[in-house]
Subunit: 492 residues, 2 copies
């Protein structure tokens, strides 16, 4: 582990990049804008996947898999969606390479392998899925369809950042089809609620739930529900969206069903997704100047035991006790590791697991064995405590049980302390430049005012919050009437 990382207060952005790389979460690849997710990062993503998948299945969804490629003619069928993604599409035009006659060992795209119709690498799968649903849906008996897919998608990005914005990313995308508008609306709201539950109770990331404005809505959606989180630098991060798509895709692909009265109608749709971006949210919400801090519910390793010894005899004694502790926690289904590498010093290991955010570290030396004790370090607060081995198991279990809630409370406190009301453009700009954060302000409901504020301040409307006090006020930009505040922030 090489040295420490930049402090958050010095350069938050640099801190983030260094942390991601030094904790071995991810790195940039030889392909522009595409990242490599390293084992440390992927194992956290696997935990996220497993929990989300469980929640999706418990709410009646099944997994399926649709093609990576979308023929251009299908891609362009839903015009708004196509327009929204057209400028960031990787496009397959050929299907064969051939030897370069001028350079041995080099290959050229074979011009004779040009495709009749270009294929778009999916930036999202509404088009390919709704062109399929057309064949699956004839009657109300075929509805609802409640599918999810775990996949990779590609959105060509000019400026990329590990996890937060990459040209290829991993995600899940749910795509559902319903007989009624009401049912589709409920589905989109239900998924928004599942995302909130996951963010708050597993990631320990408090979020604001709400809907996007016209400017910020998903291309092709009628309503976009979102969860918005606040990072430690005062910038917001959109952590998950679920879309009520109305009948837009059904109309674009001609998907009709016969209702119970035999009347034909277009099908109602939703789609919803979260991505590896959540990894960025996790790091930026909880990380500190020593590295990552992982909530126990998602930590691939919850407890690490580090032996301290000089002689082989000492190693033996310490190991025996460590393995006893290891087995106890393994049996109780905790995720625990005994790091018995003999070619690395304890100090090196301490740093490594602090950087990687392991919640609990138990260290055990010969003196500890003699005194029937161990040192327990708590990653969240960096507190260390000497604990009698008689009480160790209960102590560690209690710490882990309370850590999840403590992390959430700490993040919630930060969010609340960094949520402000602004009643004028001056206030608004002062708050933004001073501390950032969520700014609750009146807005006249027009795209023009929203855009003007964004142009002036780089802050956008993150959402019209779900829990919104209806109150009369004046738009901070136009002075026109508003019937409630919306949440602004600069955002990732």
């Amino acid at each position: 582990m090489s040295k420490s990382i930049t402090k958050r207060s010095q350069d938050y952005s640099k801190w983030y990049n260094e942390l991601i790389v030094k904790a071995n979460l991810a790195e940039n690849s030889a392909v522009r804008g595409c990242m490599i997710i390293k084992p440390n990062g992927y194992s956290i993503w696997e935990k996220m996947q497993a929990q989300l998948d469980k929640m999706f299945k418990a709410s009646g969804h099944q997994n399926a898999y649709f093609p990576l490629f979308v023929p251009k003619s299908l891609f362009e069928a839903e015009e708004k969606n196509a327009e929204g993604f057209a400028k960031e599409c990787a496009i397959v035009t050929h299907y064969r390479l051939k030897n370069d006659p001028t350079q041995k060992g080099k290959l050229l795209v074979d011009p004779e392998s040009k495709l009749e119709e270009e294929l778009i690498v999916r930036p999202t799968s509404e088009a390919i899925i709704w062109s399929t649903y057309k064949n699956w849906i004839q009657s109300y008996r075929d509805l609802p369809i409640l599918l999810n897919q775990w996949s990779n998608v590609v959105r060509w990005e000019m400026r990329t950042r590990l996890f937060l914005r990459t040209s290829e990313f991993l995600w899940q995308e749910g795509h559902t089809a319903h007989a009624t508008k009401q049912e589709a609306l409920i589905e989109a709201q239900k998924m928004n609620e599942i995302y909130r539950d996951f963010a708050e109770n597993y990631m320990a990331v408090p979020v604001i739930q709400g809907t996007k404005t016209d400017n910020e809505r998903f291309a092709g959606a009628e309503i976009t529900y979102c969860i918005e989180a606040l990072m430690q630098d005062g910038k917001a991060l959109q952590a998950g969206t679920s879309h009520f798509l109305g009948q837009n895709f059904a109309k674009a692909f001609g998907v009709k069903f016969a209702n119970q009265k035999g009347k034909l109608d277009y099908v109602w749709a939703t789609s919803w997704g979260v991505s590896t971006r959540l990894m960025g949210a996790l790091v930026m919400t909880h990380g500190d100047d020593k590295g990552l801090v992982l909530p126990p519910n998602l930590a691939p390793i919850q407890i690490v035991i580090i032996p301290i010894y000089k002689t082989d005899d000492q190693y033996q004694d310490v190991s025996n006790k460590a393995i006893e502790i290891l087995n106890h926690f393994k049996e109780k289904k905790f995720r625990i590791k005994f790091d018995d590498r003999r070619n690395q010093k304890p100090g090196f290991k301490f740093n490594q697991y602090e950087l990687e955010g392991v919640p609990i570290r138990i260290s055990l030396g010969p003196r500890d064995i003699n005194n029937n004790q161990a040192e327990v370090a708590y990653r969240l607060t960096s507190e260390k405590e000497i604990v009698s081995l008689d009480f160790l198991y209960q102590y560690v279990e209690n710490k882990l049980a309370s850590m999840q809630g403590e992390m959430f409370q700490k993040a919630l406190k930060f969010q609340l302390e960094n949520t402000f009301e602004a009643n004028s453009m001056n206030d608004f700009i002062e708050i933004l430049n001073d501390k950032g954060g969520f700014i609750s302000a009146h807005w006249d409901g027009t795209s023009e005012s929203e855009q003007a504020i964004q142009n002036m301040t780089k802050a956008s409307i993150r959402c019209v919050p779900q829990k919104r006090l209806m109150e009369e006020g004046k738009c901070i930009y136009s002075g026109k009437p508003s019937n409630g505040r919306v949440v602004f922030a600069r955002a990732y």
Copy 2:
């Protein structure tokens, strides 16, 4: 469920295609050669993934994720590998669409978005991974690297069949790096053994383990270990391969490490993979004229309960008992479903679950309740038995416990009965045309003879078996000396 499917004896190929579609496992998509894996199929694939992933982790591997795209210059670095895949590559050449000025609502590839260097959609990831390992490996301390990735790959295929050969497929690919040749060899063999274990003990598919000949080896490998299964039509199916790659990729990408004596050497490599092709092997090994037959270890639903009733009162009585049975098995961690759809008749449900291959069906009517009994149908043999409710739990558990072994034994019997020795070209051709199957025959070890036999008969050498009797003989084609038999077959 529409009608029955074609009988295997009538047209095996048609039987396969109909079964895949009618059991809702997969279907063709709007994209040439790419399939849609439907929920029924994907849920089996998830079970396969979960088990394999467990086995990979238990043997010390971790998951990671590498980019979908491979820059052409990296792709061509290992020449044999590049040559092997060059003719089946999807190639991304542009990254933006623009409005078609001549047709409203249509899009064109923006010629200004041409990439400086084309990107290959990965057909396999050795190139992108070894160009990364170069940065990760300096010393023997950085070795071994034992990574696996679950991903999609694309190999442009002209003739495709659901699961067996598709342009895009899902798979896992392991990529390991080692300090010694010996260690890499052991790794490749270990993964071959894990694949055998999985095929035989989870899929109930008996396999022959062996190595590929030069003609059949993975492009860029020095040794390819494989498992070969025999389908009911007498054709072989390659079910998994693991490759000892020597130092080929290390040399192509300049990946050297300092050994313990400080001397620089190239790193040794393996790669190994199984894919959604295994779904085809599962269907073709066990399916019968009624549909799929799933081994309990992989069946998403192991037991289904179907209520039989006329009146609402009867439905209530039957349901109460069914839910009692459901809860019992759920508690014991069996995967069980109570199909209480009221708009479908029992006969329809019986057909559906036979088609979908659910191992055990329990049906329960008012008369059964009165007589304290249930009817249990066993998918493997189609036997039905009336079982007292006093013994039902034990009966079903026993059936499920023995079914896995019975399925394996049945498939093994078929494999052995369809493995033949041929001592002349005439014998060889007669056996092939008569029944197919594995044919064990002498071969002189040359690519020429192998190719000549394949040209004459369409049979290829599936493997040089691991358990091979060394015996002197004469090549059935050339008459030249051979020191042991190899396994031929026509193959998928």
